[in-house]
């Protein structure tokens, strides 16, 4: 095997640096359209999420927030900053440290007619609530013969790249995408953060809302990229290309856009699809892209084994077999517990691992 040179990112400050509270420069690849000045002014993803909650709560008094440290503190990532001041302690509830309680209480509130938005402080802390989500929240509609609605949104900051201790960098989305009765969404931009969260809160079904925490401080306009705004179950072709499709979501969308820019410099046209919705998956958008390019690579932080990439690769192979120039590739985490911070750079899919998979797609 020959020595290879790591390729530099075409867009600076994307994957190597951990999230810093200092605002990052406006993200390249942000939706390019004219819009009202306020909405066009770049805001951080975390602020966009907070704005979505504020606007939703102002519009509908049945929306209540509950979670650990969401009120006085404004959340450990400050997503709910100022909301308790504005809406009061009755609607922005600092909960006991009890994740199962947060989701279980949200279910009861929903039965009483409220539309709770829960915050699970970190991805790795959702497991105490897993039972309530999987055996109760996802099933109460069917269990009640369609009588109950469960308009519960569960926000979960997820993914690595922030130099954290154990349980603060995980990507548990496949568990929830695997569970019938749930919708699973994840934004990658500020505009989608606002739009998808508004759509999630307005949805009459439970939504697990994964927020890519290392992108919290990346900025973009609030204005939706499309007019009318994209429905929540639709994926987006964020960067058109003709040679290969990168299928990404949440934190790896930026990684893939960087990879596409680097590949372009080498004369390769890479299409990047932002899945946005992980349950349901937007098969028409994915298959249309693959039929154009003939090659696809799925990129996520979660372990590849039995991950979403496996479902996507299998289904795309079933539906697009005769359009495939190469097997659908997968880039993701190894089948190991998420590593300690000093090693996460080695573990996380980065530009080079994505381009390596692209190279292999052309090697067939």
């Amino acid at each position: 095997m020959s020595m290879r040179t790591l390729r530099p990112a075409a867009v600076p400050g994307t994957i190597a640096a951990p999230v810093s509270p200092a605002p990052a420069p406006a993200a390249a690849g942000a939706p390019e359209h004219a819009a009202a000045e306020d909405a066009a002014r770049p805001v951080a993803l975390a602020k966009a999420l907070g704005a979505a909650l504020r606007d939703a709560m102002a519009a509908d008094e049945r929306i209540v927030l509950l979670g650990e440290d969401v009120g006085r503190l404004g959340g450990v990532f400050r997503v709910t900053d100022g909301l308790q001041r504005e809406f009061g302690e009755a609607r922005v509830i600092d909960s006991p440290l009890s994740e199962s309680g947060i989701v279980g209480a949200a279910i009861g509130l929903a039965m009483r007619g409220y539309r709770p938005v829960c915050e699970i402080q970190f991805d790795g802390f959702v497991y105490p609530a897993f039972d309530q989500i999987v055996t109760q929240l996802s099933r109460l509609r069917q269990r009640s013969g369609g009588a109950l609605r469960m308009p519960v949104t569960i926000r979960i900051p997820y993914g690595g790249g922030i130099g954290a201790v154990e349980h603060h960098s995980e990507s548990p989305e496949a568990y929830f995408a695997h569970t019938p009765g749930l919708r699973v969404l994840t934004p990658s931009t500020a505009a989608d953060g606002y739009l998808l969260l508004r759509q999630a809160v307005a949805c009459d079904d439970p939504v697990i809302f994964f927020e890519p925490k290392r992108r919290y401080w990346e900025r973009g306009p609030l204005t939706p990229a499309e007019d009318p705004p994209l429905p929540m179950e639709r994926a987006r072709v964020t960067r058109p290309g003709s040679d290969v499709t990168l299928l990404a979501y949440g934190p790896t969308v930026r990684t893939c856009l960087d990879a596409a820019a680097a590949a372009a410099a080498e004369g390769r046209s890479v299409e990047v699809v932002d899945l946005r919705s992980l349950a349901p998956l937007d098969w028409p958008t994915m298959t249309a892209s693959l039929r154009r390019t003939g090659r696809a690579v799925v990129v996520h932080e979660a372990p590849v084994v039995a991950g979403l990439g496996a479902e996507i690769a299998a289904r795309l192979t079933e539906e697009c077999f005769y359009h495939l120039e190469a097997p659908v590739g997968r880039v993701g985490g190894y089948h190991v517990p998420y590593p300690p911070a000093r090693l996460e750079k080695e573990y996380l899919p980065d530009l080079d691992r994505v381009l390596d998979a692209v190279d292999r797609a052309f090697g067939h």
Binding site: R91, G108, M111, R112, D131, C203
Partner: protein
């Protein structure tokens, strides 16, 4: 080495350990310093009918299971007083969260008995509209429902908060909201609207229950523990409260303990009704607790009361007190109804492998229905008892016929109501399933 109390030691406590008792096993009244009987003769007669019906329905269901007509049955034998006494303390606006053995609660709430059979015949995982009876669907995963109950109780508090903050002119905001789609999940109490289930109004709160000559009891006595005593003049600050049923086994679950924390922290209007039937399948209550379960409440910061679960009068009195406390804004209560599971855990269980036969004999002498019969014997002639028996048998016969007449659901019913917002994926899977099935019908 930890020494666990043997199950046979635990299941034979001295009478004082039965907790609040207002009706002795021989049917004579018994005074209690904190609680008065709130059921008059007519109420007690009605309770007797309900308990007897429950037993006959229960037995009919066990028979149906043995004949292969139900996938499973979860007998309630022995717990008729705990269930009937507590549900009759609840007002129509109160919301009840059962576990999975509270069939008599469901039936008393107006749910047609056959609805429970639909679940255990394998037609549905739940089936009824909780808002139609203010009764949640059964929860089979232990203690999950305790958190739903607390959340629902928080919603009751939020409704009151919204009505208050909206000012007197807007006091009806919660009511208005209830009438709109957002509150489609609640309201519409239809208790007793089904002729099959017209069993008279709930006994709670009728002035005659308090001022009329009670069959047992004594004048109100509020001396004693703080917060204990019947709060006849507290007045309701909330328009409803919540009762959630759980068992002695569920008391070991994390969710139950989280629910206690939440309820205490928010002073939620919820009554935790723990039916301690002393067995979690084969696990004795002694493996769940080294102290009476009611004592756990003190550690969370709210009152806990053990009540004789085979005494319908005491169960009703204590639950009424706890619900009035909750509606008055005084917060949660834990009630431990001390009783005994006289049958198997389910029809799949064989309690002879672990349950001492003599315990069953001892508790048979404490039978909750016999106790009420002894209390009523001086005031009801044998003909009245015969009528109740005939009525209970007729109800059971009807249930049997209704169960046998239940149709299987259509083959693709499992695609129904997975989501409100059905997905393209869901539609495509259902279409593929139908196409596959039809491919066999050439």
């Amino acid at each position: 080495m930890v020494r666990y109390v043997a199950s046979d030691e635990l299941s034979d406590p001295p009478p004082a350990e039965h907790g609040v008792r207002l009706l002795n096993p021989d049917g004579t009244p018994r005074a209690h310093p904190e609680f008065d009987a709130l059921l008059d003769v007519e109420d007690l007669k009605s309770c007797y009918g309900a308990m007897l019906r429950a037993r006959h329905l229960d037995d009919a269901a066990t028979t149906l299971q043995r004949q292969g007509e139900l996938a499973l049955w979860i007998p309630l034998r022995g717990q008729e007083a705990a269930q009937v006494g507590s549900v009759r303390a609840a007002a129509p606006a109160d919301f009840l969260f059962p576990s999975y053995r509270e069939h008599a609660v469901a039936w008393e709430r107006g749910l047609p008995p056959v609805e429970v059979m639909r679940l255990l015949r394998g037609i549905t995982h739940g089936g009824w509209d909780p808002a139609a009876y203010n009764l949640a669907n059964y929860a089979l995963v232990l203690a999950t429902q305790t958190l739903h109950a607390v959340g629902y109780a928080l919603g009751i508090q939020l409704d009151a908060e919204r009505a208050r903050s909206a000012g007197p002119g807007m006091a009806a905001v919660a009511t208005v909201a209830a009438a709109t789609e957002g509150r489609a999940n609640i309201g519409r109490p239809t208790i007793g609207s089904d002729p099959e289930n017209a069993r008279g109004a709930p006994a709670r709160g009728h002035p005659e229950n308090i001022v009329g000559p009670p069959i047992v009891g004594r004048p109100t006595n509020t001396v004693g523990l703080p917060n204990v005593g019947r709060p006849t003049n507290l007045g309701d600050v909330l328009d409803a409260a919540v009762v959630v049923y759980l068992g002695d086994g569920a008391m070991s679950q994390g969710d139950a303990n989280e629910a206690f924390v939440w309820a205490a922290s928010f002073n939620a209007p919820v009554v935790f009704f723990c039916t301690n039937n002393q067995w979690a399948i084969s696990t004795p209550a002694a493996r769940q607790a080294r102290v009476p379960l009611a004592e756990r409440a003190a550690g969370f910061g709210f009152p806990g009361v053990r009540v004789d679960g085979n005494d319908v009068v005491a169960v009703h009195a204590v639950t009424t007190w706890a619900l009035e406390r909750a509606r008055a804004g005084a917060g949660p209560t834990l009630i431990e109804a001390y009783t005994y599971r006289m049958g198997p855990h389910t029809t799949s269980d064989d309690p002879t492998r672990y349950q001492p036969a003599e315990a069953l004999d001892r508790w048979r002498a404490l039978d909750p229905i016999d106790r009420v019969a002894r209390a009523l014997a001086p005031v009801c002639d044998p003909g009245w008892f015969d009528e109740r028996l005939a009525e209970a048998r007729a109800t059971a016969t009807r249930l049997r016929a209704q169960t046998l007449a239940l149709a299987d659901p259509p083959p693709d019913a499992f695609f129904d109501e997975v989501l409100v917002t059905e997905t393209d994926e869901g539609r495509a899977q259902r279409a593929a399933f139908r196409e596959y099935r039809e491919s066999f019908q050439v």
